[in-house]
């Protein structure tokens, strides 16, 4: 998992970040400004600086933020001048927007803020609807406004063309001030709080965020139009509130809470993808009447609050139908503020020690977590930390009772002193300590600071404590406080919440550990798979910390480990290799393992049924293993056992994972699949677990076909290695479009659906989706941070270790990227190079001789010119029109041949591709019903085909291979239909035809061999589509 970061600011307004795999706070790269509030999300961080202005910090990326400006040039024909800029008085402007209503000359476009720069000058867009015009980009019509055609006709009286220009956001890795509103009357009073979230509400436009702020006068403002290519947003809108607001928190999804001056909380209702600002407020009372809420923080399913008495409360019963929740639960701990981040994880600032705390043990089933753990890592360039960290350690123990208990146990048993000592940093389990609102019997925590601190002090390395004055001791304390924390105007009384209580000044001078004011977890992704190294006391970065992590990571291929692997293989050589003919002491006889699984009954009535299975494993004399899987089922009340070798589909519950693991292993052993995949391997992914729709006939909840019942609760992730990462949500991206609520309409089931209701429509459906993710311990390594939708690797054979390998990709936003520095030695490369395009791209392929082909969103193809090893990104795009009336959606390029698949499932071959004219001359139709194509380095053609006649029905997602491909007949002749349905993608691009040394015979030949060699009952093969899937789909 790539690392993510936690943001925090200290009492001096300095902003620091801490990486999930880091062990020290790092000063923000742009450290000039001082901040009193920060709110981070993954792409950026918003903050309020000491000048009360709002700033945004956008992370640097290989991918530029670009915005396309466009305007239209309009002309009318007259008999004297031909087409010219002289228009009729009733006509539109000579320069206008696409509607023609708005005057838009080229020079009226200005950069929205000094944070932008122009990428190039204006130029004419010659690409009309996926086709090049080659005529200056003009399109013609009889009159404005009408349908514009590419070709000039006798009656074409008007014409227009589109000019485009890109501007680029240039302020990356630095704080950029959000420009104040131009209209002085609407200028909001100084900002007091800010919260950024809402990225889960909708994915249109890309990277949309909800930015909410609170002014010192208690007004709430919403920033309009904040998204990926407009990071600064456009303007502020005031949101009415029932009373003065002091603080606000916006979750990743539709949860938004704010704290009122009077101590209640307000909850925003009606936030949706159509209305991210929401509609109205509901009021939630404070946990106890006398104890107002001072601070709230919300996630996806949780709300946490801190009251004026610094007590921490967790709101129960929050869900998407009830954003207000049901009741408050008091948690252990006293905090100054609290921040809910990604995954509903929680951080806070300790009230007394101003340390940053992490709530450990927050899981989907236990959202309130277990204990507070102090984050004990030093700050960058902060040498005095071994001492300071220790003092947090002792100062952190101000939650009396638990700590006292621990102290006792130390005295009683010295054996466990180590374990207990670490627990001193924790506040103790809260679950058992929670108390319901209104229950007055619970005791308040007693401050037992002295007692608690003393035993741990013995363990603390005291020598380094206070040896050096803290670096900021020369700063004038009073001035800093005013700067960072107090507004310059008359609103002093409002700022009481971010200043510290009187009398704490002394402790500032006395203690030298960092004092934090604010933390934001909105960009920090922590889940059960992370092992954070934030909690260990350490003097600087020691090498021993690295060896603490015992899991295999690339950085962790330590010498000792290598030695063990080497010595073990030497041992095998020495003790075993010359003696393999010896008789084994323990005979490996037949071994039977039985269990239960679900089996897909592939005839009527089609359904999953529980079956008993038995796996019989036999070890042959030569040590090779063979296995037979029997499935016991009933057919017409008759007990049956599978006899034939036939593909079966099996499913397993989490409890049955042992059996699936065993089946996988047996298949591998039997087919002699071991070690790394062969260089001739063909890879494929299945289409499991995607989507299903709602149908009111037959089943209320079903799959897309309507034939299979699929309820939300019965849907399982593809295998136990997968886990859900989101809740069910309505998917608005169903093909055919949806209405505002995600519904699609049709006359009847099954039919074609459209996204609007007509008088003829009597049924409707909508698609629900839920995201899951797989975490593997390898061998896949993520190349962060840009998310991709397509990637293509040069398919040829690479001989030299340092030879550059062409890797191209398309980001999830449609940007084309070229990976630099990819070689056999460094397969993940070094960085992305952005390759400019005029529209988002959707598919891309690198072929032999560095031919790069791509498909744009409008369905046309592009060829990249002049790509070479010295110019890896090439120089320009050549526009290749799509086949008539078809929109291409995928392309694959082999050694010489170029194939593409269109939206209607047609497979096209590019005719006339030669070294001197690599763009080719025309598309030739090859086949229909094709879902995906993959062309190998020897121009092999493999596809995923739909509607293939199977044994029982038409099968979808069948792997097929083209026969008769010859150097002079690259289109091939016919299809060889292969492995049964359920496949989503196949790639043959790794198959160079060169036998690698360690490669095993292909699975097909070994399967035949075992068939011949065995006289027992043939076993059904389990390889076809086990739901355990493959890691390749991650």
């Amino acid at each position: 998992m790539p690392s993510t970061i936690l943001w925090a600011s200290d009492i001096w307004g300095k902003v620091y970040t801490l990486s999930t795999d880091g062990q020290q706070w790092e000063l923000c790269k742009d450290g000039q400004l001082e901040f009193k509030r920060i709110s981070a999300v993954q792409a950026c961080c918003w903050g309020i600086a000491s000048d009360h202005h709002i700033y945004i910090y956008v992370h640097a990326s290989d991918l530029p933020i670009r915005y396309q400006e466009e305007t239209y040039e309009n002309q009318r024909w007259n008999p004297v001048d031909g087409f010219c800029e002289r228009l009729l008085p009733s006509d539109r402007w000579q320069w206008s927007d696409v509607t023609g209503f708005n005057h838009q000359p080229l020079d009226s476009f200005t950069l929205p803020s000094p944070r932008w720069e122009w990428e190039s000058d204006w130029y004419v867009d010659e690409n009309i609807g996926g086709e090049p015009t080659e005529k200056g980009g003009w399109t013609y019509a009889i009159d404005f406004p009408a349908t514009y055609l590419k070709d000039k006709k006798w009656n074409s009286c008007v014409r227009r063309r589109r000019w485009i220009r890109y501007r680029r956001y240039k302020s990356r890795n630095c704080w950029a001030k959000i420009p104040p509103h131009i209209d002085k009357d609407q200028l909001p009073d100084p900002f007091n709080d800010i919260s950024v979230g809402g990225w889960e509400i909708t994915d249109e436009p890309v990277g949309r965020l909800s930015v909410w702020t609170v002014s010192l006068q208690g007004k709430v403002w919403y920033r309009e139009n904040v998204c990926h290519d407009n990071p600064e947003g456009s303007s502020w809108s005031e949101i009415e509130t029932p009373s003065e607001v002091i603080q606000i928190s916006c979750g990743p999804d539709d949860l938004l809470w704010a704290a009122l001056w009077e101590g209640q909380a307000i909850v925003r209702k009606g936030i949706s993808r159509n209305n991210p600002k929401g509609i109205s407020w509901d009021v939630v009372e404070a946990p106890t009447p006398g104890e107002g809420i001072m601070h709230v923080s919300v996630g996806v399913h949780v709300v946490w609050a801190v009251t004026k008495e610094r007590k921490v409360w967790f709101r129960r019963g929050i869900n998407s139908h009830n954003p207000c929740g049901t009741s408050w639960i008091e948690m252990v701990g006293e905090l100054a503020m609290i921040s809910v981040g990604l995954n509903d994880q929680v951080w806070g600032i300790g009230y007394e020690d101003r340390g940053v705390y992490f709530r450990q043990g927050v899981t989907p089933s236990e959202l309130s977590g277990k204990i507070w753990k102090a984050i004990l890592v030093p700050r960058e360039n902060d040498r005095s930390n071994s001492g300071s960290v220790s003092s947090i350690n002792s100062a952190g123990c101000f939650f009396g009772e638990e700590v006292k208990g621990q102290t006792d146990s130390i005295i009683q048993s010295d054996v466990d002193s180590e374990a207990e000592q670490t627990q001193l940093q924790e506040f103790g389990p809260s679950v058992s300590d929670v108390k319901e609102t209104g229950s007055q019997s619970a005791e308040l925590p007693v401050d037992s600071h002295e007692e608690a601190a003393s035993p741990s002090c013995d363990e603390v390395p005291t020598n380094s404590k206070m040896t050096r004055a803290p670096q900021w001791s020369s700063i004038d304390l009073v001035e800093a406080r005013i700067n960072a924390l107090q507004p310059p105007d008359d609103a002093n009384n409002l700022s009481v919440f971010e200043t510290f209580p009187e009398g704490t000044e002394d402790s500032f001078g006395r203690d030298i550990y960092p004092l934090w004011t604010w933390v934001s977890g909105g960009s920090c992704l922590v889940d059960s798979h992370n092992s954070l190294k934030w909690f260990n006391l350490q003097a600087g970065l020691t090498t021993s910390m690295q060896s603490m992590s015992l899991s295999i990571t690339p950085a962790n291929t330590a010498m000792w480990r290598k030695q063990i692997f080497e010595q073990l293989s030497e041992r095998t050589k020495r003790e075993l290799d010359s003696f393999r003919h010896y008789e084994p002491a323990v005979d490996q006889s037949v071994w039977v393992k039985t269990g239960t699984l679900q089996w897909w009954r592939d005839w009527k009535p089609y359904k999953w049924i529980d079956v008993r299975v038995a796996l019989e494993q036999v070890t042959a004399n030569d040590g090779s293993k063979d296995s037979i899987l029997f499935i016991y089922y009933t057919h017409y009340d008759e007990k049956k056992r599978t006899k034939q070798r036939w593909p079966v589909r099996l499913a397993a519950t989490t409890e049955q994972r042992c059996m699936t693991g065993l089946l996988n292993r047996s298949c591998c052993e039997m087919r002699k699949v071991q070690g790394p995949p062969s260089h001739q391997a063909i890879w494929s992914t299945t289409c499991k677990g995607d989507y299903f729709g709602l149908l009111t006939d037959r089943y209320m909840w079903s799959d897309a076909s309507g034939l299979q019942e699929c309820t939300k609760t019965s849907m399982k992730p593809p295998s136990p290695q997968w886990s859900w990462v989101s809740d069910w949500y309505v998917d608005f991206n169903a093909s055919g479009g949806t209405d505002r609520d995600g519904w699609q309409y049709a006359a009847d089931f099954p039919s074609s659906y459209h996204g609007y209701k007509t008088i003829k429509d009597f049924v409707r459906r909508r698609r629900w989706a839920r995201k899951c993710k797989i975490v593997t311990s390898g061998p896949w390594l993520e190349v962060p941070p840009i998310m991709l939708r397509d990637v293509s690797v040069f398919p040829g054979r690479i001989t030299k270790d340092d030879e550059h390998i062409a890797v191209w990709a398309i980001s999830n936003k449609g940007d084309v990227l070229c990976r630099l520095g990819v070689t056999k030695q460094t397969p993940s490369g070094s960085s992305w190079l952005h390759v400019g395009t005029d529209q988002p791209f959707i598919s891309l392929s690198v072929g032999g001789c560095l031919q790069v082909w791509a498909i744009a969103r409008d369905g046309s193809a592009f060829y990249r010119g002049s790509v070479s090893s010295s110019q890896p990104a090439g120089d320009c795009w050549y526009h290749i029109p799509s086949p008539p009336k078809q929109k291409l959606q995928q392309v694959s390029v082999g050694q010489t041949s170029v194939f593409a698949v269109d939206e209607n499932g047609n497979l096209w071959f590019r005719h006339g591709v030669t070294p001197s004219y690599p763009q080719g001359s025309a598309w030739e139709h090859v086949s229909n019903n094709i879902r995906k194509v993959s062309i190998g380095p020897l121009d092999q053609i493999w596809v995923i085909a739909d509607k293939v006649q199977g044994t029982h029905s038409l099968s979808c997602g069948t792997v097929c291979h083209r026969l008769g491909v010859q150097p002079m007949a690259l289109k091939g002749q016919s299809w060889d239909y292969g492995i049964g349905g359920g496949w989503e993608h196949v790639t043959v691009r790794g198959n160079t035809g060169y036998q690698s040394v360690q490669s095993e015979p292909s699975s097909r030949t070994s399967m035949d061999a075992s068939n011949d060699g065995k006289k027992k009952d043939p076993a059904p093969s389990t390889e076809s589509e086990g739901p355990s899937g493959s890691a390749a789909s991650s």
Binding site: E418, A419, T422, E459, S531, N536, L537, Q538, T542, S544, S547, M548, L550, I552, T557, A558, M559, W560, R561, Q563, I564, F565, Q567, L568, S569, E570, R571, T572, R574, E575, L576, S578, F579, Y582, E583, P584, A585, V586, Q588, W591, C658, L662, R665, S777, G778, P779
Partner: protein
């Protein structure tokens, strides 16, 4: 990249080619051919030598047969030590196959435990597993297991079934990440030259300062003489499963991956061969 799982499999599948010969003084009816066998390193002598016993009994009269025992170069081999340990301790620098002498008379009851049936081996094995878990998890894991899980551990060892064994044994190797390892590392250090059969102590996987303990730390604590002095000559080999892991290897990792099926790290410290 090789996976830690492969280490478990490699450790499990270690074999020692062995040549069994009948002791010259044993009375036979006809000449006894030597018997060659691949012994699993992780198993016990009396558990895997049924074939040997049968082979030699064929040439002997029943009245000349009493409890079988094994000897190597005059040393009676303790069946309750894992085979790999016996080999590393007594024979690691001799030529292969390992030449073991088989006896049916004069059972050296001072040196060896009686082993009348496989139940004895099972009892011994299970008590080691339990002792190890007492050290690792205060017996919490082993006590939570069902009887059939215990049985599966034993059957896995007896039938040389890696998957069967590890399906259960992995639970014994778990620990919560916050603790950074087991409570104590179950280990035994053997020295062929020593009077004591072995040394066993309470030893934690992580030092007080949070640093993981290494094999070096353990050997320094238990048998400092085995650590070569700075710049000095290496006099001893620290051997587990027939290899010498680097002394910087973390002890917790070793315990998880290099323990014998009885969940103990059996470490042999033997003199460095002079040649």
């Amino acid at each position: 990249m090789t996976d830690d799982k492969d280490v478990l499999r490699d450790v499990w599948s270690g074999r020692i080619p062995t040549c069994f010969t009948l002791y010259q003084d044993e009375l036979t009816e006809r000449e006894a051919e030597p018997y060659y066998l691949l012994l699993p390193r992780v198993s016990y002598l009396t558990l895997v030598t049924d074939k040997v016993k049968k082979h030699f009994q064929k040439v002997m009269r029943t009245e000349d047969i009493s409890e079988i025992w094994f000897e190597f170069e005059g040393i009676p081999l303790k069946w309750h030590y894992p085979i790999g340990l016996l080999f590393d301790l007594h024979a690691s620098n001799t030529s292969l196959p390992w030449s073991i002498t088989v006896h049916f008379k004069n059972f050296p009851f001072k040196d060896l435990l009686h082993c009348q049936s496989k139940d004895v081996i099972e009892a011994h094995f299970m008590s080691s597993v339990k002792e190890a878990d007492a050290l690792k998890h205060k017996s919490q894991v082993i006590n939570e297991m069902q009887k059939k899980d215990h049985k599966q551990l034993w059957m896995g060892l007896q039938n040389d079934k890696f998957d069967q064994f590890w399906a259960i044994n992995r639970k014994l190797m778990e620990y919560s990440p916050e603790e950074g390892g087991f409570r104590y590392i179950p280990f035994r250090i053997y020295q062929a030259t020593s009077e004591r059969p072995f040394v066993q102590k309470l030893f934690r996987p992580v030092a007080n300062d949070g640093k993981p303990h290494t094999l070096d730390d353990l050997v320094k604590e238990v048998c400092p003489a085995a650590i070569p002095p700075e710049g000095g000559e290496k006099k001893y080999q620290v051997m587990i499963h027939g290899i010498e892991p680097l002394l910087e290897t973390p002890l917790q990792w070793l315990s998880e991956h290099f323990s014998y099926p009885d969940n103990f790290l059996h470490i042999a410290i033997i003199p460095q061969p002079t040649d």
